[in-house]
């Protein structure tokens, strides 16, 4: 197997193909702290791409409740367990090179799904450690999640004194997911027909529907389980990153690149998507005032999802600041503590960039900040918090201004007559 540099692991890694990197890479940041699992993203995707016969159980975008939930059920626990069995107690990180752009999180000392496959899989042609979820695991994207089940045997009724039941050792958060359009896609690596490709212009990973024969090797290999089999056409399908929108060919766009449907539909200002420039080795080219580059490589508040799997996911998450840290470290790697610290005590620039989320459906290529007046100061835990009403300006790919907004949001007072109406 050739070696490729995986900057998220801070080291070279085995991959079945030579590294080949697009000019720009489709990437996104989700701020988990803001997600309320309204499923607007889920339904925007569903109503755009997967509303046809045979796609009933197919959710390219979904939001699941962690730690219990998952679609398909237990997807992450299953692949982590398989990796742990292949490399017992070895799935750890060391601090070698930490902070360097080529190894910002240190060095992963364990085995990826590509490397573990060599040890465990037979025949030798098997390239990626994975599994095929059962039909039952696919059939309920939100099984039992957030639904109080009431008393046993009494369907559709809440427990009459539920609020007086013993309190539970409970914590949770919502994890929104789409295909990560990985730099080293496991689906692509596993396809025996080479029907899966990564576009050189934007790094979007697609399945060629003409070439696919429905062997489901991609379904088995994708650790995030975002490649899905469609029974009535007998081919696999996956998130297409709304490529007509990203290309600026959507009728709504007026020729400008638009963010995907799931991003645009997010009412919680959770999501931002863009295209980042890459170096020849697949690392991100320095682009200081690109909002995604800033969040991932400068502020370092956004982290990849399960980087240890080795696929180089291009979806990054601002971790929830209330969830237990060991769980978060497993999910987002060793950068979690620093990310939460910075997000909890944001500086001026981070506060301004966080205001860019969902002010427009157009893809932001660059931002600029005009300093504003100090509007607030307070001390908490010995840390002085300040708020400056800076103006943050977003620019599109053509260099034209998309919008400008302020850090201090105006408070709109609804007429009491219509206080609870829409």
């Amino acid at each position: 197997m050739p070696n490729v540099w995986n900057w998220q692991l801070g080291r070279e890694m085995d991959y079945p193909y030579e590294g080949a990197y697009p000019r720009q890479q489709f990437a996104f940041v989700f701020n988990i702290n803001r997600c309320i699992a309204c499923q607007s993203c889920t339904m925007a995707c569903k109503s755009t791409w997967t509303f046809s016969k045979g796609q009933e159980q197919m959710w390219w975008a979904n939001v699941e409740t962690k730690p219990f939930g998952g679609y398909p059920q237990h997807w992450d626990m299953k692949i982590l367990k398989m990796l742990d069995e292949a490399d017992p107690e070895g799935q750890a990180w060391d601090k070698e090179g930490v902070g360097h752009p080529k190894s910002p999180y240190g060095r992963f000392a364990g085995k990826t799904i590509f490397e573990a496959a060599k040890r465990t899989l037979k025949p030798d042609s098997a390239r990626v450690l994975g599994y095929l979820p059962s039909d039952e695991e696919w059939n309920s994207p939100n099984l039992y999640e957030d639904n109080p089940v009431g008393e046993k045997g009494r369907k559709g009724e809440f427990h009459p004194t539920g609020e007086r039941l013993p309190t539970h050792n409970t914590w949770f958060f919502y994890l929104a997911r789409i295909c990560n359009h990985c730099s080293y896609p496991a689906c692509l690596a596993a396809c025996p027909r080479q029907a899966i490709y990564k576009r050189p212009e934007d790094g979007i990973v697609l399945i060629n529907q003409q070439e696919c024969r429905g062997y489901r090797k991609c379904v088995e290999a994708c650790p995030y389980k975002k490649s899905m089999y469609r029974g009535n056409t007998r081919v696999s399908e996956k998130c297409v990153a709304c490529y007509p929108r990203v290309e600026g060919r959507d009728p709504e766009s007026g020729g400008r690149p638009l963010e995907t449907r799931c991003m645009a539909a997010c009412i919680g200002h959770v999501r931002m998507q863009g295209l980042v420039k890459l170096n020849s080795d697949g690392t991100w080219a320095e682009d200081r005032y690109h909002p995604l580059y800033y969040l991932v490589h400068v502020a370092k508040v956004a982290l990849p999802l399960y980087p240890q799997l080795g696929t180089g996911p291009n979806g990054f998450y601002i971790p929830p600041r209330w969830a237990p840290r060991p769980y978060l470290r497993q999910m987002f790697g060793p950068g979690v503590d620093e990310a939460i610290e910075r997000y909890s005590n944001p500086d001026r620039e981070l506060l301004a960039v966080l205001q860019l989320f969902r002010r427009s459906n157009q893809i932001i290529d660059r931002y600029a900040i005009e300093p504003g007046a100090k509007v607030w100061e307070a001390e908490s835990n010995g840390i002085v918090r300040e708020l400056y009403n800076d103006v943050v300006i977003a620019f599109g790919h053509d260099g034209k201004e998309l919008f400008r907004t302020t850090v201090e949001e105006p408070l709109h007072v609804r007429d009491p007559k219509h206080a609870n109406s829409i």
């Binding site: 309190t167 539970h168 709504e252 007026g254 209330w322 237990p324 769980y327 919008f403």
Partner: protein
């Protein structure tokens, strides 16, 4: 849809899963509860009542674990740091334009 009682060996049955949290997790969670509600305009009394009400099981659990004094401290800090303050209030209900003028006519957000 038929309703069948789950069988004991059914792998799809909901089971309580206890995932251990580290020592500071409950306090961090309580701080986030307090700050989020303080941002929405809750005062000291209202915020404390959230922690005292067993219906809000997460906040109530924090009160049981941390004790009254610590929760009062958390609430005080949240209200005094991120609580509602004097800020720009606009009675104007017109939606803010989210797109340049030439695109606004096609944007649902801009109306």
């Amino acid at each position: 849809m038929p309703w069948n009682e789950a069988e004991p060996d059914d792998p799809m049955t909901l089971e309580g899963v206890f995932v251990p949290a580290d020592a500071g997790a409950i306090r961090r969670m309580a701080v986030v509860f307090a700050e989020e509600y303080a941002r929405m305009g809750f005062g000291r009394g209202e915020l404390l009542s959230v922690f005292h009400n067993p219906f809000y099981s997460g906040a109530h659990r924090a009160l049981l674990d941390l004790g009254e004094a610590e929760v009062v401290q958390i609430v005080e800090e949240a209200v005094s740091t991120v609580g509602v303050r004097v800020r720009n209030i606009e009675a104007d209900q017109a939606p803010h334009p989210c797109c340049p003028p030439d695109v606004a006519s096609r944007c649902h957000g801009c109306g």
